[in-house]
Symmetry: C2
Subunit: 249 residues, 2 copies
DNA sequence: TCGAAGGTTGACGCTGGGTCAAGGTCCAGC
DNA sequence: GCTGGACCTTGACCCAGCGTCAACCTTCGA
């Protein structure tokens, strides 16, 4: 006959757990000796090991209680289910490991692969961290609100980025952030931007698919840009003014 | 800008969880709009996904909070730790699957392999379920109290079981359980048992190793047998009497 | 204009025990 | 025979990480 501590130690659970199982009726209370101590027999060991094994496998205690009195066929069936659940858990843990890997370094956790690739291209191009982060945040919001549209649009952006002239322009625009608002280069940049806008307008006039996208997005784009207007530098604000002059003209 | 539900849905957590993170300070409370609704930006999505990823990997929320403001080097180190923990969890789940398999059919979960094998041999020999269970319970208690001794003793038992004459005797003894106490076959059985005891006494007189084991165990054996005396049948009680007559003689 | 859907705070509930507190018992060594 | 330390008893509160009401306010599409 065993005391509660010997039982718990042999099976590998805590004394508190055993008492908890008694309280909930999962493990029957054993006889007491003359001093009121619980005295356990071999069946208690068998029961407790079964309980422990199933509990460790994630089975809720009430479910274990059901199974302790189930016939062998039902029991085997339930164990098979528990085993399948364990297998699923293992698969999930594996997936979590891969996602965890994306935590350190990379936007792959927050964005579809295409967009994360695009951001990576920007970095490799030499775009500032600030610039990349503004892009990233914009794409995140866009993806959260219109995932399909975001994917269509990113395809266009990556096409653009294949053009060396556009890359040149993008870099300049990125650097202009830190210029002084009276920097004369801003005028030249505004010229380039206006020309690009005009070309794009002609292109979208022809290609209806792109037109649709532009229309769908334009409202949100406004909203997205507005989100970050507070982060605009004096140079960019000035650039906006210059641009508006040229476009409205 | 997102409402709490859109945020939660996009990231894949519940609204309640987001609010919980706000309460504990894990995720900063965002600005409210004019009606008091929370409005989330892209950074909230990034933060929440990081939180979710680490939380799913089993990281306690306070620990996550520490890591959210940690520098990249410390963060990467911590993520490596979390990943290692995940790996250990996967290994443990695998082990639990194997132990779970022993739950259905078999005593391997409760007893060392040698003893489980011995019980299996008894079953194959044709010993009654009751008999096997009495043996099992005895071995469990013995193993719980004196694991080393149990292993030494089981070796002897398995040797005995290799002897066809002993197997024959064991089976008869097992079946005698259900005989009537005045069954004349009990006398013959008592003769055989007495003879066996005498032989064993001579053997243990020679082999000191076995002697030691017998001595060590004898007290506990008494206790163990006493445990199950209540389960003795009338025939077995009678057999005990007959045996005592012959041995004391 | 109205009802459904979504937002707000606040409070209690749940699992599976951990961790005191305040005693009563057992046993080994002196 | 006594004492100290390990063990037993019940009872109570505490924890994470949310789930789940309740009671009320706001927004939005038909």
């Amino acid at each position: 006959m065993l005391t509660i501590k010997r039982l718990a130690e042999y099976v590998g659970v805590t004394v508190r757990a055993v008492r908890h199982y008694h309280q909930t009726g999962l493990l029957p209370e054993p006889e007491r000796d003359s001093s009121g101590y619980r005295r356990y027999d071999a069946q208690a060991i068998v029961d407790l090991i079964r309980i422990k094994t199933m509990a460790e496998a994630g089975t809720p205690l009430p479910r274990i209680q059901e199974l302790m009195t189930a016939d062998p066929a039902h029991f085997a069936e339930a164990v098979a289910e528990i085993d399948a659940a364990l297998e699923r858990q293992i698969d999930e843990l594996r997936q979590r490991r891969t996602r965890l890997a994306d935590l350190v370094g990379g936007d792959r956790l927050f964005l579809p692969a295409e967009i994360a690739d695009y951001l990576q291209q920007l970095r490799e191009l030499g775009v500032s961290e600030r610039g990349v982060r503004m892009e990233r945040d914009g794409w995140i919001m866009l993806t959260a609100n219109y995932p399909d549209t975001a994917l269509e649009w990113i395809a266009l952006k990556r096409e653009q980025l294949a053009d060396p002239a556009f890359r040149e322009f993008y870099l300049t625009y990125d650097r202009a952030y830190d210029w002084r608002p009276d920097d004369p280069r801003l005028d030249a940049l505004a010229d380039v931007m206006a020309e690009r806008l005009r070309q794009e307008a002609r292109a979208t006039g022809v290609e209806t698919a792109r037109m649709t996208i532009q229309e769908t997005v334009s409202k949100d784009e406004q909203a997205l840009l507005a989100t970050h207007v507070s982060e605009y530098s004096p140079a960019w604000i000035r650039l906006n003014e210059l641009l508006r002059q040229r476009v409205s003209a």
